[in-house]
Symmetry: C2
Subunit: 405 residues, 2 copies
Amino acid sequence: MVVGVSFKGKIHEVAGVRLSAVSAGIRYKDRPDLVLIELAEGTTVAGVFTQNAFCAAPVLIAKSHLSSSNPRIFIINTGNANAGTGEPGQQNAIKCCQIVAEHAQVSVEQVLPFSTGVIGEELPVEKIAAGVPQALDLLGANNWMDAAHGILTTDTRPKLVSKQIEVAGGVLTVTGMAKGAGMIRPNMATMLSYVFTDAIIDKDTLDKITARLVNGSFNRITIDGDTSTNDAAMLAATGKSEISISSLETTEQEKYFSCLQYVFERLAVELVKDAEGATKFITINISEGKDEQECLKVAYCVAESLLVKTALFASDPNWGRILAVIGRAGLESLEIYKVDIDVGNVRIVSGGKIADSYTEEDGQAVMKHEEICITINLGRGNAKETVWTSDLSHDYVRINADYRT
Amino acid sequence: MVVGVSFKGKIHEVAGVRLSAVSAGIRYKDRPDLVLIELAEGTTVAGVFTQNAFCAAPVLIAKSHLSSSNPRIFIINTGNANAGTGEPGQQNAIKCCQIVAEHAQVSVEQVLPFSTGVIGEELPVEKIAAGVPQALDLLGANNWMDAAHGILTTDTRPKLVSKQIEVAGGVLTVTGMAKGAGMIRPNMATMLSYVFTDAIIDKDTLDKITARLVNGSFNRITIDGDTSTNDAAMLAATGKSEISISSLETTEQEKYFSCLQYVFERLAVELVKDAEGATKFITINISEGKDEQECLKVAYCVAESLLVKTALFASDPNWGRILAVIGRAGLESLEIYKVDIDVGNVRIVSGGKIADSYTEEDGQAVMKHEEICITINLGRGNAKETVWTSDLSHDYVRINADYRT
């Protein structure tokens, strides 16, 4: 299942980026599972990676290569996460980079490896090696849809978002793709996401921009509360537009940042809408909290409560479950009589208890929507935060009980 | 669904305790939903209540009455939690106590109210009032099974545990019941649990004993990570055996404490085995942690991971999910190469990666069991902790999507 329709806009090519996807038979036959993305010389690259202590071998190698080179090629495989594989796993990730480097005549450090799929199985390097020459041959500037398909696992549809913006000096383009449908509660990182732009941005600025973008997008979603071993969010700036972004201080540069924000946020939302088994897309707004931290604490507790998620799936206005979660979120000295809860435009809890105006009919009507906004006012400060999540359906259990079979 | 068979031993009466259950039609017709438990004069009572900030009206009243009197009667209703009901909810809880007090000729403060069921609906006091006289008439010393049935909500079977122990001076009896199948991650408290003994125990000692018992039993289980608004665990000592327990310092008294521990632990395990939709009972042992806190952190992260729970439901040895959860549990400076994971007697992860001896066949065989023990060795200290949980099945979603319909 999936919520709504996917992004339907035009996908703009990004000068300096070529992509391809081939079927290497890594786990399943006849589906694209090996993606190459080539970046023009001079491209700057920033990345944010998973905070999971058991981060996968390719994450370790990608971080190391990113810190010592200007990356020219991303190699991404699905079907196998190369995680929980110890030292041999790292050797296998390096081997993949070596194979690409030899064929593409770049240095090993200029290749960043990414893997996603089942944890704990040996990466079939020979299958990947066999697929690389064809993938290099197929590199093209308009293969966005192929690549976006090639990085998927349990996702039901590709996630591609593209936007252009006019600034003084010309037009800047931002196009990106992402994958991920389960094991998703990014922690200063995300699933796999690759965003490309043709602006000129130096490495330091790009690092700062990427951290800020990820924090407002992928770090505000949760599907099942599990942080993956393989998360990575990359932003690459090819510079081919010859328009330079040196900071975010001018109005023009702010406009450009909004464009980047749009793409990151939209990709994050697309991940949630295609969450494993999702039938609903839920926005959780917390307002009047003491600080960002406590707003996020409440938002994530609500977003990850199985009881709230199953009530949302059932379109059941069982708001007592939301109330119970707020009560257990561990806020110090919470004055419950100041708490209000709205679902959509229906006030359900007012001053800590059921609102006088509330009727079960109103509650049922608003819970039937496919996109639902839960607003919780804590009445104790000025901070506010938003988190996006999905409901919990029969299909989530089916997908995750059957994943390896 | 439910794991294993329920407690089959003899249920011993406890001198000084009489019980009854009647059908008051609070939510459903023709099922017992109103339980009275009468305690002999001179009984001491201790209780541990939910830490949820939105704790229910009856919890507030029970705590207040317990602090100002020697309770003589517990009144317990199911079908309606009287939570999220504000000040009128408290008035309704007090009214229930008044009705019992008038009929039974005790003071209002000697009646403790307990409610469990749907949150946020008005308590139908008139239905409860109508049921009280019959419930008082039916009070009897051997109605344990009726009462244990009467306190259930989504549970599929009653939970009753009983044990006697010989000490110098005679025989001491401990008999208790509990309910709860969802919204269960007690936080220094529990669902509803009532344990009775005929020892003489002063209030201070009983308070200490109860806190210790709850910490090792109900505070070590999680079903879905949600702490209820209505949790309460009560221990009452009638003194009718005329054997005094003044501390836990002698061997005899330790023997008696073990007997209490057995009943509390067994009731906690019974709750998990009858968890909503449960098909498996999972014990999570953490060893060689730095301290209790970090052991519990890892244990609860594993116990509450949807991905681990669905893999357990599917009998799929997808151990990479366990590894990923340990990695995201937030332990500082975790040395992953020291981590070992066993499922049953099968070593699956050794030194942070898949064990050389591991085979998928061994993994599949051990995952098929109905009771599974996951042992995680963190290799960084001497602390150890155990948490009990269940798997996550299609039925959990069905039950919680349908609960109010």
